[in-house]
C-alpha cells in the first residue's frame, strides 16, 4: 500500500540542539515532497518542498530537507532549534506532477517539544 511514514510521534529536544525529523514514503515513482508545520490552534504552513533538481532544499525558518531516492526518504533538519519551533510537523507527498488532480498524502505527524 502506498503510504507516508513519520516514525517518530513525539520528539523532545533542548533549545539550541540540532533536529532531524524523519519521513519515508512508499511509492513506485518519486513524488513531489512537502513539509508543513502546524503551530497549536493554527493551520498548516508550508516549510519547504522538493520537486526536482538539487536534493537538498532550503525552507523558511532555517529548515532544510534532503531527498534520498535510495532510501525513499525526505528528512527535515534544523541545525539549532528555537523554542518557537515547538509545533507539529507533517510530511506530505503528491503523486501526480504538474496537475491539480493529485491529492496530498500526509504522514501522521511528529510533535516537537523544545526544552528551554
Amino acid at each position: 500500500a502506498q503510504s507516508v511514514t513519520q516514525p517518530d510521534i513525539h520528539i523532545t529536544v533542548s533549545e539550541g540542539a540540532s533536529l532531524e525529523l524523519r519521513c519515508n514514503y512508499s511509492y513506485g515513482a518519486t513524488p513531489y515532497l512537502f513539509w508543513y508545520v502546524q503551530s497549536p490552534g493554527q493551520g498548516l504552513q508550508l516549510l519547504l518542498k522538493y520537486f526536482s533538481g538539487d536534493t537538498l532544499v532550503q525552507g523558511i525558518k532555517g529548515f532544510e530537507a534532503e531527498f534520498k531516492r535510495s532510501q525513499s526518504s525526505f528528512n527535515l533538519r534544523k541545525p539549532s532549534v528555537h523554542w518557537s519551533d515547538a509545533a507539529e510537523y507533517f510530511c506530505a507527498v503528491k503523486l501526480v506532477r504538474g496537475s491539480t488532480l493529485g491529492r496530498l498524502y500526509f504522514g501522521r505527524g511528529t510533535q516537537l517539544t523544545v526544552w528551554p
Binding site: G98, G102, F106
Partner: protein
C-alpha cells in the same frame, strides 16, 4: 492578503443537525480541497474540486457534500452530523500559475458533534 478564510472558527453541533463549513480563497486558485484532521491520523482528504463547477470524492467522503459554484468558495456540508465527524476541518487551495502542486491551508474549523 487574506489567503484562505474559514468560518466558523469552532462550533458545537447536536447530532442529527446539519451544518455548512465555509471556505473562501482570494488567490484565484483553480483547485480547492477539504481535509479533516484527527489525532494520530494526520490529514485525510474529504472532497476536492479541480475547478469551478467540478467536484470529486477523496479518501473519507461519506456524510459530507461539497459544491463549487465559483472559483473563490468551496463550502462543505454535513447533512446530518454524527459524533464521528468531530474533528478539525481544513480547507486548502492550490494551482497557482507556475506551481500547480503546492497547496495552501486555511486556519481550520474545530467541530464538535455531541
Amino acid at each position: 492578503t487574506a489567503g484562505i478564510t474559514q468560518a466558523p472558527t469552532s462550533q458545537i453541533l447536536a447530532a442529527g443537525r446539519s451544518m455548512t463549513l465555509r471556505c473562501t480563497q482570494d488567490m484565484r486558485h483553480n483547485a480547492m480541497y477539504w481535509y479533516r484532521q484527527d489525532l494520530g491520523l494526520g490529514l485525510r482528504l474529504i472532497h476536492y474540486s479541480n475547478t469551478a463547477g467540478t467536484t470529486g470524492k477523496g479518501e473519507v467522503p461519506d456524510g459530507y457534500s461539497v459544491s463549487r459554484a465559483n472559483t473563490d468558495d468551496f463550502p462543505l456540508t454535513l447533512a446530518s452530523a454524527v459524533p464521528s465527524q468531530t474533528s478539525v476541518y481544513f480547507c486548502a487551495s492550490g494551482g497557482e500559475r507556475g506551481d500547480t502542486d503546492t497547496q495552501y491551508f486555511g486556519p481550520g474549523t474545530r467541530l464538535t458533534v455531541l
